[in-house]
């Protein structure tokens, strides 16, 4: 059913519409490369501007490339085409200006970015012995200055994932294994066509995918900002790492964390996660992870690390069921619980007790030393 075309739209050339709409999309927070805008304009030349649906689907095909952005796209399109005021929907748009209890320099004492340099300068003078103390100190007890230092130590962490046999084979020096005919033919040229010197393949290896799930609920707050640094270190140092924030909803933060600049990366991730320090329904969040990412392949054969204190407002049965699903596809599940280090802690509370039977490795992760141990555990 073609809607009547607004006059302002029908009178304009495709190029102008394309550029204008791309600007609206960018304003709504989507990434629109210039190339895509050009493709959109060219495609509009073929599809025409006569119907709303034609322009809409042309935009979808050329400007959008992930289903998560469909809602934002639809809203932007409605604003653009119908000149509809989107004020009523504003609350549903991902809020961009959430202020978080994160370690963005200056955020703690609510001073401007100009003070960044000043805040960081004295830290460099920390001596090695101080570092050693820092390594074992609980993240929750950190002063802001110590935290800045810890961040530097954390960016030195290097993660090596567990290996598994790959289908890709590599050349072997050994005289056994699968024959490498390509090289054998090449070599036999030297011997006048006689395959005297035979070449072989050996099985290759590759690292398993690493999936990091970070609980960002209120009770995890003292640790979440340290862990998000760990996530960043993991994401930039390796390929095949995926990171998610688990709160009242599930947010994939891998892309946001890929920036080399840790502060920028963490800020971008923080902007993406809308429910920092809210409540958690771990079971529901995990279920969403399983449904949308994990079972269809992301968690298959992967090392899955869950950073959470196990506080769950949902039913423990839900969490147990989702852990069971995850366990069936994952290679290993590592649960990092900072509370484990506290004297007298026993994982008896609902969520943690329900999840524990499915966990391969239960570690502390409350300090730098503990995170180093975690890095080792991941490589097993």
């Amino acid at each position: 059913m073609p809607d009547p075309v607004p006059e302002s739209v029908s009178e304009t050339a495709p190029e102008r519409i394309a550029v204008a709409f791309a600007r609206v999309l960018r304003g709504a927070g989507l990434e629109v490369p210039v190339g895509a805008t050009l493709t959109f304009a060219r495609a509009l030349g073929f599809v025409g501007l006569a119907s709303r649906s034609g322009v809409y689907w042309t935009g979808r095909a050329t400007l959008l490339n992930r289903p998560e952005n469909i809602t934002v796209f639809d809203r932007a399109f409605a604003v653009f085409w119908d000149r509809r005021e989107a004020a009523a929907d504003e609350s549903e748009l991902p809020p961009e200006e959430v202020i978080l209890a994160l370690d963005v320099p200056g955020a703690d004492d609510a001073v401007g970015p100009d003070d960044e340099v000043g805040a960081e300068a004295p830290v460099v003078t920390l001596r090695w012995t101080a570092r050693e103390i820092l390594r074992h100190r609980d993240f929750a007890l950190y002063t802001p200055a110590e935290f800045v230092e810890a961040r530097r130590l954390m960016s030195d962490l290097r993660l090596v994932g567990a290996a598994r046999p790959s289908r890709r084979r590599k050349r072997s020096r050994a005289r056994r294994g699968a024959p490498d005919l390509r090289r054998t033919v090449r070599r036999s040229m030297r011997a006048g066509g006689e395959p005297v010197e035979r070449a072989f393949f050996t099985a290759g290896e590759r690292t398993r995918r690493l999936v990091l799930l970070l609980d960002v609920s209120g009770s995890m707050e003292p640790y979440a900002r340290a862990f998000v640094r760990f996530l960043h270190a993991a994401v930039v140092s390796r390929s095949r790492v995926e990171a998610f924030a688990l709160g009242t909803r599930l947010t994939r933060v891998t892309r946001e964390l890929t920036s080399r600049d840790p502060d920028a990366a963490v800020r971008a991730a923080a902007r993406r996660v809308v429910d920092w320090s809210g409540g958690t329904r771990l079971g529901d969040g995990l279920r969403r992870f399983n449904d949308e990412w994990g079972i269809r392949g992301l968690a298959r054969g992967a090392v899955v690390v869950i950073f959470s204190d196990g506080w769950d407002r949902g039913e423990p049965e839900v969490l147990a069921e989702q852990m069971a699903r995850l366990e069936r596809v994952a290679y290993r599940i590592v649960w990092v619980n900072p509370l484990k280090a506290s004297p007298g802690y026993a994982p008896l509370a609902g969520g943690m007790a329900a999840a524990l039977p499915y966990v391969d490795d239960f570690v502390e992760g409350h300090s730098l030393a503990a995170l180093e141990q975690l890095a080792w555990s991941i490589s097993q």
């Binding site: 495609a43 979808r60 054998t184 269809r296």
Partner: protein, 299 residues
């Protein structure tokens, strides 16, 4: 050689429908643009919504050969582009040697010993209609392979060191599918048009069942399409795709049912739900409820 250039989106819809594929406006528009701009089309969507089918139907419609490259982990140039026929090369070498002739390397690396894999076949195609190249489940291949693919999809040419550059006169129609087990690289996405295939609505699904399983009685088809829609709203681990709906309708009609009833659903639940937990959830929800709602919706 004539590439296929439809004039309108409606022409695409009709062409696909004539070949037993009912595309919605979104998909038809994407295909139309892909054909006009000669750009690859990346399709994503839940399993069973008919991503792979799009390429097959396009091949039937355009009359082009369907060239399929199934991706898997570790796939490399020797399986995707070309390989030399080593056993024949070795035999040839032995034969040449036995007749005491000199070994000619150029002869050894000539087309005679070349095994063309899908990508090369799609580019080196000789015929009046460009082939349809289906690159299935690209998310299963490694990142390196994706980068390699990007080069081919940008230049429509492949270089075989021993032979030279193979260039397509008319670029093939390219359809890529992904199940999102990982993100496809942005660079590749930029090269492609993108369409997310969603589950069809009731009317479209009914039309698809009628088309693909014509033996199914009309009332049963309506019941089944309505029940499938209902099931998708139950927060299942694996909501049924269109493929399952078609299978389910066919199974029920094979069993001689002409309407949906509780016993029939109970006996055939495994055709539409493939997880034990999902079956339990639906049974706990109540099969009679499901049937009642579906029959009311379908009527």
């Amino acid at each position: 050689m004539v590439p296929l250039l439809p004039d309108t989106v409606a022409e695409v819809s009709k062409g696909l429908a004539d070949n037993e594929y009912l595309a919605d406006d979104g998909l038809a528009t994407s295909i139309f643009i892909a054909l006009r701009l000669q750009r690859p089309l990346l399709l994503e969507g839940e399993a069973g919504v008919g991503k792979t089918e799009v390429a097959k139907v396009l091949a039937r419609w355009t009359g082009g050969e369907l060239v399929r490259l199934q991706c898997y982990e570790g796939i490399d140039a020797s399986q995707a582009v070309y390989e030399w026929d080593y056993s024949r090369q070795l035999l040839h070498l032995r034969a040449v040697e036995a007749s005491h002739e000199r070994v000619d390397e150029d002869e050894l690396y000539s087309e005679r010993f070349l095994v063309k894999r899908p990508l090369l076949r799609a580019l080196a195609h000789e015929g009046t209609v460009p082939p349809v190249l289906l690159i299935d489940e690209i998310d299963r291949a490694d990142d390196e392979f994706e980068a390699f693919l990007l080069e081919i999809l940008s230049d429509w040419s492949i270089s075989v060191p021993e032979l030279g550059v193979v260039r397509a006169d008319v670029p093939p129609v390219v359809v890529l599918t992904s199940n999102r087990t990982r993100d496809v690289h942005d660079a590749l996405k930029r090269r492609c048009l993108y369409h997310w295939i969603a589950h069809p609505d009731f009317e479209r699904e009914l039309a698809i069942v009628r088309l693909r399983a014509p033996q199914v009685p009309e009332l049963l088809a309506r019941d089944v399409a309505a029940a499938a829609e209902e099931l998708r709203g139950l927060e299942l681990y694996k909501p049924p795709g269109v493929a399952e709906t078609i299978d389910w309708a066919a199974a029920l009609s094979t069993l001689g049912h002409s309407r949906l009833d509780e016993a029939a659903v109970d006996a055939t639940l495994g055709t539409i739900l493939k997880y034990r937990e999902d079956q339990e959830r639906v049974r706990a929800h109540g099969l009679s409820d499901l049937v009642r709602t579906a029959v009311a919706r379908g009527a």
